[in-house]
């Protein structure tokens, strides 16, 4: 009898398990297909662009023999599909190849520039969400009043002012005139190479090494570019938060809660805000993802050795090994952020299973 029950349940269980696996397999296949198409398209578009990286490598005055030798060494004389096949084979072996310009392994370069960008983006998003969300809530609660107009004006300015201009003015004011913050780069130059590179995140590495001087130098250097980027981010997040909140505050459950005698603060934060958390997670995650692509203009103005500058320089000369590797990484970052957002949805909204 026991056996019969077991055999009766097992197929159902197995089907459930199989469905789970096949769902996972399906997702994995779709992710891999997306990534493959991303690589293929980026590579082909890159190769079809009328850019010849060889001149960037040898310089405009090189003689033809040198030009041809370098072209051959870089494999650029082969048909595009053959180049792609070689690239793909290397990729499957975990090898992104070398940059055409300097001959260094692409992964090594990325391991260096990505932490700089992640560090900047993380500080930015903490500032952006930390200030943008309360501002948005504040504006929504005070709809139509002075505070609301002020927040909307800040948001409008943040959206419409060119970011490199704000960066440059910020440098002139806070660095050159007032001397409150450090200049370009991640550190004062003479602090370079003082703390060992463990994580690639200077703030963390300096703390790990217990060197507060280097830590403060890193803080004073990151605060301005992060604030400038955060300003744009605050503008975006506060505007969205405001509109999400307005929608919730007009719902009947809010009126009911108020009628029941729930305090104003309780209604705002425990009822209305609780309901927009899931949407905000998406907004903040996408905003963070966008920053991880690198902020080329800010990186240029602040001499920040990040991912954005690295990718842009490669694009300009047609260094496709770098461009494809960076595109893949950006793709993976967005996929990872999606997964994290999904997990957070489940955390914030128990109805989602």
């Amino acid at each position: 009898m026991v056996n019969q029950v077991e055999t009766a349940i097992s197929p159902a269980k197995r089907r459930l398990g199989l469905r789970k696996y096949s769902r996972f397999g399906g997702s994995l296949a779709s992710v891999l297909t997306t990534l493959f198409l991303l690589v293929l398209l980026t590579f082909i578009i890159g190769r079809l662009m009328p850019i010849d990286p060889v001149i960037a490598v040898v310089g405009p005055d090189a003689d033809q023999a040198t030009y041809l030798k370098v072209k051959q060494e870089l494999g650029l004389n082969l048909p595009v599909l053959q180049q792609f096949w070689i690239f793909l084979k290397n990729l499957l072996h975990g090898n992104f190849g070398t940059t055409l310009l300097t001959g260094r392994p692409v992964m090594e370069d990325i391991a260096r520039v990505l932490p700089a960008t992640v560090e900047l983006a993380t500080v930015t998003i903490i500032l952006g969400a930390g200030i943008g969300i309360p501002l948005g809530v504040y504006a929504a609660v005070n709809r139509g009043r002075f505070a609301d107009h002020a927040v909307r004006l800040i948001a409008l300015l943040g959206h419409s002012t060119p970011i490199f201009w704000i960066g440059m003015v910020g440098l002139m004011l806070f660095y050159a005139k007032l001397g409150w913050v450090g200049g370009s780069g991640r550190l004062d130059l003479f602090y370079e190479d003082i703390v060992p590179n463990v994580t690639g995140f200077l703030l963390i590495d300096a703390l790990l090494a217990g060197d507060m001087e280097v830590f403060w130098s890193a803080v004073t250097h990151i605060v301005l570019p992060a604030s400038v980027l955060a300003y744009a981010s605050i503008a975006y997040i506060s505007r969205i938060t405001r509109s999400f909140m307005l929608e919730q505050l007009s719902q009947e459950y809010v009126i009911t809660a108020r009628a029941k005698g729930v305090s104003r603060r309780g209604v705002i934060w425990l009822h209305a805000f609780k309901n927009i958390r899931v949407q905000l997670v998406t907004v903040v995650a996408l905003s963070y993802g966008g920053m991880l692509e690198g902020a080329v203009l800010i990186e240029t103005v602040f001499g920040w050795p990040g991912f954005g500058q690295y990718l842009t320089n490669a694009l300009v000369i047609g260094d496709m090994n770098v461009v494809v590797a960076c595109t893949l990484i950006i793709g993976c970052v967005f996929i990872a952020l999606n997964v994290i957002s999904d997990l957070l949805y489940k955390f914030f909204d128990p109805r989602i299973k």
Partner: protein, 534 residues
């Protein structure tokens, strides 16, 4: 909302705390801090270097056999070789300084010098073309470059070439001497260390390479046991600063000691600052306008001659090229033996119009002009466009990056172009003329794309002959110079399709605290004697 206000106050306090007043910046006494745009710093291999930026770094990692006296451009002084002799057949014999050692601690021998120069040729990269001018190729260098004994290096003659040309050239980056034992350890598939040396160093210079992160930073440390005396600076730090205005702010603030590649407005701004000194390296190339004689209109000498009268050289040099170039009328600069005054560029709009009318183009014509999309090229192109419009020539400017601009010129598929020759300083008429007027084979498949005259499809056999003859004179400098003069004159009389606009100037800003920072026009500026005042 008291809590909200409390949050805001908290945030303000936090921001105030992190933006503590950074002490008035001043670079440390024993560290030299340099800012430059590193986009063109693509290799540290002396035999493959092609940019102003890479030359500067390499000059401090390696020693060359001879050096150029930065205070007297063109004067050759001892480097690794303490003396040299020219034998009657033109063979050069160099005696090495016995104190000289590599950073690895090993004594430098004549075999190292021979290896280095052989590598320059055999690698087949940029240095090869340099030595090929003197008849050296992969097949003959093993015999021609040899160690007579440990201390004596011999450079035999392949084709007759004036010894002064070679001696001058050996002061440049391609004359660097490399540590063959260190390279051997990093050699892969017989690449003579090419892969490794691109981002590492094996030299004997005053500084060792700690790290180079492309488009980020170069960190050099003092080589304490440098044979030429311990450098004053403990470290040299070079940072990538792509934005000129940020660089200017850092210089003014005292966070940088030296700044390269500043734009004209920032140079002017810094020149007013008493704590900053502006230096100008004059003479490492020309800004030029080139016409392709494959084009039916530019094939006619009378059109080219007329067009040369159309350009307002003075205005372009005074306004557009300010801080980037200095006026030049022909391809041998005024301070080089062989210069001819009152030859070359003349601005005369009446003659320009008349000349075009006489050639049958009174109504003008339309052409496309290629230009880099950066300063000062794009501005120079616009000025030329305006000048030519007055004469009825309609010019469409097509801007692009290096490949899009120089690519068609190298392929001889263009009509008009502006550009800049980028080789390091040439202190001899030969170098100047070779780049701009020499073209020994005008066929398309000759592919002499490093020669401007070939790019313009313009060949003057008599000029080539004079050039070859001059280069081969080994014992009479006056006669050699005379032949270059004749070649230049002939070139100028032939309505050349390559017109010099300005001689290149590389300005840089340095802190007034610096002592002994002397820029070298061959871009081989040394940082080992640099000191700082309090």
């Amino acid at each position: 909302m008291p809590h909200f206000r409390a949050c805001l106050t908290g945030a303000a306090v936090l921001i105030a705390a992190v933006t503590i007043n950074v002490a008035e910046a001043r670079t440390p006494q024993d560290q030299l801090v340099i800012g430059m745009n590193m986009v063109n710093l693509t290799t540290l291999d002396p035999h493959n270097a092609n940019s102003y930026e890479s030359y500067h770094v390499i000059a401090n990692l390696y020693d060359t056999l001879l050096r150029s006296d930065p205070n007297t451009p063109g004067k050759v002084v001892p480097g690794l070789a303490k003396s040299w002799t020219v034998l009657p057949d033109g063979t050069l014999e160099f005696t090495l300084d016995e104190r000289a050692t590599f950073q690895s601690g090993r004594k430098i021998t004549a075999a190292d010098v021979a290896y280095s120069f052989q590598r320059a040729v055999k690698l087949g990269l940029l240095a090869r073309a340099y030595y090929a001018n003197w008849g050296y190729d992969a097949a003959n260098v093993d015999q021609k470059f040899r160690a007579k004994d440990d201390r004596t290096f011999v450079m035999e003659v392949a084709t007759p070439v004036a010894p002064s040309l070679k001696l001058n050239a050996l002061t440049r980056v391609y004359g660097a001497v490399l540590d063959r034992e260190v390279i051997a350890k990093h050699e892969k598939d017989g690449d003579m260390g090419r892969g490794w040396l691109a981002s590492n160093a094996a030299g004997s210079g005053p500084f060792t390479l700690n790290r180079w992160n492309p488009n980020d930073i170069v960190v050099l440390s003092r080589f304490d046991a440098y044979w030429g005396g311990e450098p004053k600076m403990k470290r040299v730090l070079v940072r990538h600063l792509p934005e000129s205005q940020t660089e200017r702010l850092q210089l003014e603030k005292g966070d940088l000691d030296v700044g390269f590649q500043l734009v004209s407005a920032d140079i002017d701004g810094l020149a007013k600052n008493p704590n900053i000194v502006i230096d100008r390296l004059v003479g490492s190339g020309f800004y030029y306008l080139i016409m392709s004689t494959k084009d039916p209109e530019f094939a006619k000498p009378e059109v080219r001659r007329a067009l040369r009268y159309c350009i307002n050289y003075k205005d372009i040099n005074d306004v557009v090229m300010k801080n980037y170039g200095t006026s030049a009328t022909t391809f041998i600069p005024a301070d080089i033996p062989g210069y001819i005054p009152d030859i070359g560029n003349v601005y005369d709009p009446a003659k320009c119009k008349q000349g075009l009318a006489d050639a049958g183009y009174g109504e003008g014509f339309s052409k496309q002009l290629l230009s880099l999309n950066s300063t000062p090229y794009a501005d120079m192109a616009t000025a030329i466009q305006q000048n030519l419009a007055v004469a009825g020539i309609k010019v469409d400017i097509l801007t692009g990056n290096g490949d899009q601009t120089y690519g068609p010129m190298r392929d001889r598929k263009f009509q008009l172009g502006v550009g800049r020759t980028a080789s390091s300083a040439q202190t001899d008429a030969d170098g100047w003329l070779r780049t701009h007027v020499y073209n020994p084979d005008n066929k398309d498949d000759a592919n002499l794309s490093n020669l401007q005259a070939w790019r313009a499809s313009f060949e003057l056999p008599d000029v080539n002959k004079l050039m070859d003859e001059a280069q081969a004179i080994t014992d009479n400098e006056a006669k050699r110079v005379e032949l270059y003069k004749q070649a230049l004159k002939l070139f100028e009389e032939s309505a050349p399709p390559i017109i010099p606009i300005s001689q290149r100037v590389d300005p840089y800003a340095k802190s007034a605290r610096l002592k002994n920072y002397v820029g070298d026009i061959g871009w081989m500026t040394r940082w080992d004697r640099v000191e700082k005042q309090d």
